[in-house]
Symmetry: C2
Subunit: 768 residues, 2 copies
Amino acid sequence: MKHLLPALLLFPCVAVAQRPAPTPPENLVQYAHPLVGTAKMGHTYPGATVPFGAVQLSPDTDTLSYEQNGKYNPEIYSYCAGYQYKDPTIVGFSHTHFSGTGHSDLGDFLVMPTTGPLQLNPGTADKPQSGYRSAYSHATEVAEPAYYKVRLADHNILAELTATTRVGIHQYTFPQADESHLILDLMAGIYNYPGKNTWTFVRVENDSLVTGYRQTNGWGRTRTVYFALSFSKPFKQYGSRNYDQKQPYRGFWGRFDQAHNWPDLAGHQLRLHFDFGPTTSGQQIKLKLALSPVSTAGARANLRAEAPGWNFADYKRQGQAQWQQELSKITIRSPRRVDKENFYTAMYHAFTGTTIYQDVDGQYRGLDQNNHTAKDFTNYTTFSLWDTYRALHPLYNLVQPRRNADMVQSMLAHFDQSAEHMLPVWSHYANENWCMIGYHSVPVVCEAIVLGNAPFDQNKALDACATTARQRWYDGLGLYIDKGYVPEDKNGASVSKTLEYAFDDYCIAQAAKKLGRPDLEQEFRQRATNWQNVYDARIGFMRPRLADGSFRPKFDVLTTSDPAYIEGNAWNYSLYVPHDPAALIAKMGGSPRFVPHLDSLFTMNLPDKFFAETEDITRDGIIGNYVHGNEPAHHAAYLYNWTDQPWKTQPRIRMILNKMYHQGPDGLGGNDDCGQMSAWYIFSALGFYPVAPSSGEYALGSPAVHGAVLQVGQGKTFTVSVKNQSDKNVYVQSARLNGKLLTRPFLPVSEVLQGGTLEFVMGGRAAK
Amino acid sequence: MKHLLPALLLFPCVAVAQRPAPTPPENLVQYAHPLVGTAKMGHTYPGATVPFGAVQLSPDTDTLSYEQNGKYNPEIYSYCAGYQYKDPTIVGFSHTHFSGTGHSDLGDFLVMPTTGPLQLNPGTADKPQSGYRSAYSHATEVAEPAYYKVRLADHNILAELTATTRVGIHQYTFPQADESHLILDLMAGIYNYPGKNTWTFVRVENDSLVTGYRQTNGWGRTRTVYFALSFSKPFKQYGSRNYDQKQPYRGFWGRFDQAHNWPDLAGHQLRLHFDFGPTTSGQQIKLKLALSPVSTAGARANLRAEAPGWNFADYKRQGQAQWQQELSKITIRSPRRVDKENFYTAMYHAFTGTTIYQDVDGQYRGLDQNNHTAKDFTNYTTFSLWDTYRALHPLYNLVQPRRNADMVQSMLAHFDQSAEHMLPVWSHYANENWCMIGYHSVPVVCEAIVLGNAPFDQNKALDACATTARQRWYDGLGLYIDKGYVPEDKNGASVSKTLEYAFDDYCIAQAAKKLGRPDLEQEFRQRATNWQNVYDARIGFMRPRLADGSFRPKFDVLTTSDPAYIEGNAWNYSLYVPHDPAALIAKMGGSPRFVPHLDSLFTMNLPDKFFAETEDITRDGIIGNYVHGNEPAHHAAYLYNWTDQPWKTQPRIRMILNKMYHQGPDGLGGNDDCGQMSAWYIFSALGFYPVAPSSGEYALGSPAVHGAVLQVGQGKTFTVSVKNQSDKNVYVQSARLNGKLLTRPFLPVSEVLQGGTLEFVMGGRAAK
């Protein structure tokens, strides 16, 4: 430092002296709270992950089985992310978790540090001392982006977790203890059941490195995850127990003591322990567990590349720096800390929904179970597309364009590998789960084409969309193509399918138009009108129709258990024509009849009986009959924009933002669904929303922020400024895009992507 | 042809005209009979394979389970190779088979063509019509190297099989039939039981290509084989049945008819059928099924590389040409066809015992379950080393030196990948089975070093041997190192282990000597004397010794169920000091006492009760108390060479050759053990035998051939000529190596490998 002083004196920094020092960027990481959504039905996890990280290292609080007495166990539903805030014990820390899903899997490689006599069973929540699990108190718990900390009361161990993209990093601070152990439980898992492990394999490579894999037949039917686990301190000894009831063929193995220090294990039901002997107070044992979708060799390479050292604080700092960078894709102004907390918690969840799925060298396991190398893109997985096509992928297109293009390429690779020649429906870890309905990769692929964020063979991509949309065997699609609707007597969820197919078809038409393929455009433009075929004009609702053309007589617009609909009742689904609200409104009698109809959605009192019908809806996620906790009506509040009273959207949006999102573990009104709920928040708080991805337009709402700057790619920024903002001033008085007054309540997405400014002026009364 | 005539006239071929045209090489393939050993306990398979082929495409005649009522089913033992000659039905044709083993696995990808209504169950042997299996008659059966043919009576289908190294090729000639099917049974397997499949995976890529894999927890604990199956004719439709009792998580899959034309299947218990509609008489459907140890992509590449076309006759011709080439490594003269049949059947079995285990691009699955690429060598598997170190690998060193060096490199790669840091014991398909005792890779590696057939880092290889031999945890080895013997009260099979460890240690000493590493040589030269520590001089037998140094009181030299010995009784094992017979004989009282002792081995009458004690020994494989059906005494008849009556070896050898090997399905007196029994035949018929591999010497016997030419590598030949040969002239009168009279009954292997001549003169009486 001393040597610098003369230099500074010799070259006084005049330019700096003449203007004020730049404000250091605001620490946005402080606002994102991973614990939000960990109670009730948010289904998020509180543990450590980096943006889009392949590792989600997080505590699991129970070990329920997916089946009890041979039947689905409904209790398991609360444990989609492995953690429930109400639970009094932590079983251990596992390395993979979905964020906000309504079905689950994962929970791979559960690790637990313990003191005292070795216990290989997890024990039970009411008697944690009966096993390796531990009681804990939320008072000792800290959850930040890329950092999680908790004190394990029963063992008096301070557990800290952080992560890189592919490596989970553990730091355990031990008390003085006679014995210390690390448990590696390969039987553990989320949505587990005793037959779920098709195989597990472990090698103790030396006294501080363990490799292996877990192969499961779960929600992902054929899923394998490989690991390499490095210890900061050599273990003194180790052992395992194989709980397999049957191990035939192993006659000659009987010569060996495989329970102790045997380095080569495999079976369906393995638990391992690594023993470190006595510890002194404050002694730390650190672990680095790298994942790979390809091989243990890949996991070791990932470990070397991403986590060569042992400085936990550095990894935490790097992880939080990554979060700072990604959260900075949108900086907002707001006088209230809680608004920033809600916003950046939503950003945090939006950027954990999909995950990187390849080794550092680009290798990943494909749908065909072969290893592939991603060339010119990064391969992603966890595509909960029925949810995320709506707002999450549009958000990515806006502030994560490179990643969204990579995700589209990942979907196209999936198509190339698909035996069914389909784009993904709900895919994770080289599996198609066929969960939910529609072919909602199509809007994602097509929006990327329409917006020009498509660095790949666009015609081939469009062909993949068309091929997907023409698979006659798929879920009523042949009937839909022939009849223009899915007949309910032939195929369930027929109304939902017809409506969603029609929207997806619209997206193909839009992309075909962009690429100048009129035949394709015409075919799918026509198909996009099929929503009309399930509209019963006599009653003004989308109604199940039978193969003979008649509408099904039995019909209740409010019930959530009508098999013609999925995750939504007829009332909500009847609003689902996102690509042509004007036509829908016209059919429904135009603004005079539609506006009060839509008003009633938010104001009616849904009878209690409907809440008992389905596990997925509680009062928390509902406003009147508007179900924000599920997705089909996510666009509904924006529909006023197509009526003669567009301002009515604005207070609705502000109300939903206020009611459905808040801080605290129960801060989400329903499953976050891999970030779709959060993406809704982000768009709506900014003042606009992608009602129909691929349309090229956002619909205006009412901004909740006081201002925002969006990084829209290639160094461009898009600034939202809001004048006269307040909780009462929810009505937009005027909006100017790049200085030009908007005369319609819509924004062209292309102009937003070019950077520029959007200026809202707010007021307390509707600007009719 | 017409155009050639003037050219021939213009350039008359004077040289050819002056000497007789060369004799075309004799067709040796005609003499090799794959059916030999398929009855009783030979455990060979009759199907189609090329030399060292990765595919062994062969009929399986029953579907017994490895377990019945939760216990090992002893009946299964007959089905090590899937086929028993006595059986009246064929279940189907599967692609992998061990040759001659005494434990089993494999039987992957069973295919069966059928006519008539679809049957997905195999049915039973007594009611073949109850399933897809078929009765057959041996009268319709032809088994040749690389070719198998049989008529499936129930379906009136002529089945023909051939193979390339990695592709099984099927040709099915159908009758006129209303329906024709091909069954692909992924539940089937050898040594199968319902839980054996850890996973199977199938993709119907298009109407004539299917890929997938089978992963099993069998004898190989973690074994995966991938396939690509191509049909000569597109199937009209296909279907499957998943017999898994439980398939949770598959809720959304219920929308799809996965039983019919569903291209993407996985589970534990799958059977598929491919339907071709009506057939006309004589219509052929051909299949090519390629294997890979790595991936379905690898299997497809193997298919393209090795079997691009559909000409079955060409593949058969190529396969038999390969056999002709490999069988020609030794050409023999003999006036009797049956002698050639015995000899070339032995050659055939010797060259099917170990198998190539890598894709055409060199990739293979390693012991660590990672994919590796064999650089500068070809990777092999199926190492039944307790058997094959004795004569099979020495035979390979002699006439397959390149392959033997590749096998040694495969073993060294195994060592590098071994979590236990051990050379293979009994390994197949990336698994260590730990079957039998000893560390008998060591003699194979060390003999290669001693003989200079070692194109690899020889010191590293020797270190691997020493590391293996110093693993204190291994099977009594720590005790052996400390005490000089394995104490029977601490570790079973203690006498067998002590004797075999001592021999293996000798081999390390020999290699250390060759490489000039005196410390290592001294250490293991000392260990090689440990056989003395279990020799009880009071009774003249190798006897179980306890940790306190005393000999175990209870002792019966004849019983085959003494736990201190394995696959041999004390009488036979007491002769097992192959590396120092002279010292053994001296201990046993010298020639005067040893010669009659050894005589009695062949002449005594073993009480019947011993045959009931173990499944592995029948009267067929025994002469007196000499058990040729198991390996420990394979060198015994040669021990006379170290006495003052060496000629006594000669009639014994001729007797064993005559008694233990003949034509017909029951032509082998015991398990062929991956070619060890056959290698014994080959050496002994040539007139010499490797009593102690790594010693650098063969012991002389009595040639059964009338002459032989051996291709000993690098274009060199070693010629055995035999004068006055006859069934009665079993005594060697003289033997000259390269013209020089042998004064000891031993041959230096190094001189044989340099090429040259060995001239026997035979006579009817011992040349004392």
